[in-house]
């Protein structure tokens, strides 16, 4: 009967524990990652409060000024305050990261889940589409799509969406192949549930973990990818502030004005670290829960 006592203890503990207590049990990296990412988000939202400079209008008298109290990150060749540009760029870059990660995430999850669950020819057709998309060099295909659609942020979203879902489809399918053999899925079938109820209510919550963890590093890569596309002149158009675009602009002045490329670069690194920490922390936390289940 000790099982009951322990469980009663667990129940009472659960009652007394508040949200703060549960957060205390999170892995350190998860907490650190969330802290970093929320600071980046906050910096983007509060940009007008943190700096009174305009990110787009420059002062030609003050071009290429090194970091100082007046311009913490210095100014670029047009005399624009880089601190302001970096802060405003956080808004666009986070938006790019989230949109180019989670829309493909959703599509890939649905496609992979359906393919893995049904198997047979449905799975074959879906996975061959994925294979074709993955067989091409990623960057080349993105550029081709961008050239067809024309430059611009929206078209960049579309181009990345068209290719980005494939990895999520593979991940979700692989997990689904394992989960669909679990007895709780068999039990759900024996209870007469429909296929879509079984896939999306019973199986999908159990195949999410690896996709979510992957999405954190994917998000960082997508921000970098967007920067490279902007670098080629196909993505974000000047003078819109975007970290990749700012770095590109600073490339010509790297020897005279190191700060133009370096400081926004550090912003990318910090953001990337933040998301990676979240991914790592989630992997630890969710992995632990899985071990507990076994």
């Amino acid at each position: 009967m000790s099982g009951i006592e322990i469980s009663e203890l667990a129940v009472s503990q659960k009652r007394t524990s508040n949200a703060l207590n549960r957060i205390r049990l999170w892995p350190f990296t998860l907490k650190l990652g969330i802290l970093i990412v929320s600071m980046v988000i906050l910096a983007g939202i509060c940009a007008p409060l943190l700096t009174h400079y305009d990110p787009i209008k420059g002062d030609y008298n003050d071009a290429l000024a090194p970091p100082s109290l007046q311009h913490p990150f210095g100014t670029d060749s047009y005399g624009r305050d880089l601190f302001a540009r970096t802060l405003y760029a956080a808004r666009l870059d986070l938006q790019i990261g989230l949109i180019t990660t989670y829309f493909p995430f959703l599509l890939g999850l649905i496609v992979g889940a359906i393919g893995g669950y049904f198997g047979g020819w449905i799975d074959n057709v879906l996975m061959r589409v994925v294979d074709v998309a993955i067989a091409f060099p990623f960057m080349v295909l993105i550029i081709v799509i961008m050239v067809i659609l024309g430059p611009g942020v929206q078209n960049m979203y579309i181009a990345i969406f068209l290719l980005g879902w494939t990895m999520y489809a593979r991940l979700a399918r692989a997990e689904m192949l394992v989960v669909r053999e679990q007895e709780y899925i068999q039990a759900a079938k024996a209870l007469g549930y429909g296929h879509f109820r079984i896939i999306f209510r019973h199986a999908v919550p159990n195949i999410l973990t690896s996709s979510i963890i992957f999405s954190m590093s994917d998000l960082v890569l997508n921000i970098l990818l967007a920067s490279s596309i902007s670098f080629l002149g196909l993505g974000v158009q000047p003078p819109t502030p975007e970290w990749g675009a700012i770095i590109t602009e600073g490339r010509d002045f790297l020897l005279q004005a190191w700060w133009i490329s370096t400081l926004p670069g550090i912003a990318i690194i910090i953001t990337g670290l933040g998301f990676s920490f979240i991914g790592d922390g989630l992997a630890r936390m969710l992995g632990q829960r899985n071990i507990q289940l076994v």
């Binding site: 099982g3 709780y184 068999q186 039990a187 024996a190 007469g192 549930y193 289940l293």
Partner: protein, 340 residues
Amino acid sequence: MNTTSAQVNRISTAPIPLLEVIGLTTEFHTAKGIVPANKNVSLGVERGKTLGIVGESGSGKSVLCRSILRLLPTPPAKIVNGEILFEGKDLLKLPEEDMRSIRGKDITMIFQDPMTCLNPVYRIGTQITESLRLVQHISASQAREISIDLLHQVGIPSPEKRVDNYPHQLSGGMRQRAMIAMAISSKPKLLLADEPTTALDVTIQDQILALMLDLQVQVGMSIILVSHDLGIVAETSDRVAVMYAGQVMEYAVTEAIFNQPRHPYTVGLLKSIPRMEGGDHRLIPIQGQPPNLLRLPKGCPFVDRCPVADPEVCANTPIELREIERGHYTACLFPEKVSA
């Protein structure tokens, strides 16, 4: 399959059995060839009664259960012949839509491994009443009441706390109880129990079986109990079907199976059970190995291991269940040579 198996022998246990399986043949089409997982299986279960199905691993017990609910993946599985009559309707001819409304409502199933048969991401209470909430309009608080009631019914202590637990917070025995609660929530007419106690330790096994028989009376359902444990079947079943290599070898009321077995395989199974009386009793194992289902002999699959077989006749004569006494069926060609 040969075409003559359309004329299958019909086995009736009562005027109208709840479920009647007639000449069911299920094949798996694999890369290595066609595996007959069930071959010409005929049996039935009456209302409120229990049918035990025994056999060693790979004898087709679980395939039979899944065939009844049409849960086998097709391909590779294919039901090539036979009928499964449930209240007179042939389940194999029903459209998938109608079949789905039978699953979980009229026929439910419980599984072998209580560790994995509950979804780890939902609370016990949610899972128990999900199927009910799909067909009836029940509010969340009503569903919770029903869940607590059901958990109480299956003997889970402090159900009002357990209802909010996740599966990993329950022990194996309690999970199996929760699974049973889920299966009886719709008051089914037939419960398929696929080795429900195999993964549990002996004391819990006993409790779970007692619980199932108790609920059987309360709900008035029939049970098909699949097991490789003759002891469990002896305790719980009204009738027993002994399966070997996908075929029913002997089918009779429980007392007859244990007291006057009329098939050498049943005799072999009985001789290999340890007895409580002690003394100079030796366990006699059945010699040899079960046959490869890909290369079954034309006749009796047990011929190579059989002590009474006439190798020539038995290996070449297709077997079929025959009624040799009232209600006692055997597939053996020479039942008179069999002695316990």
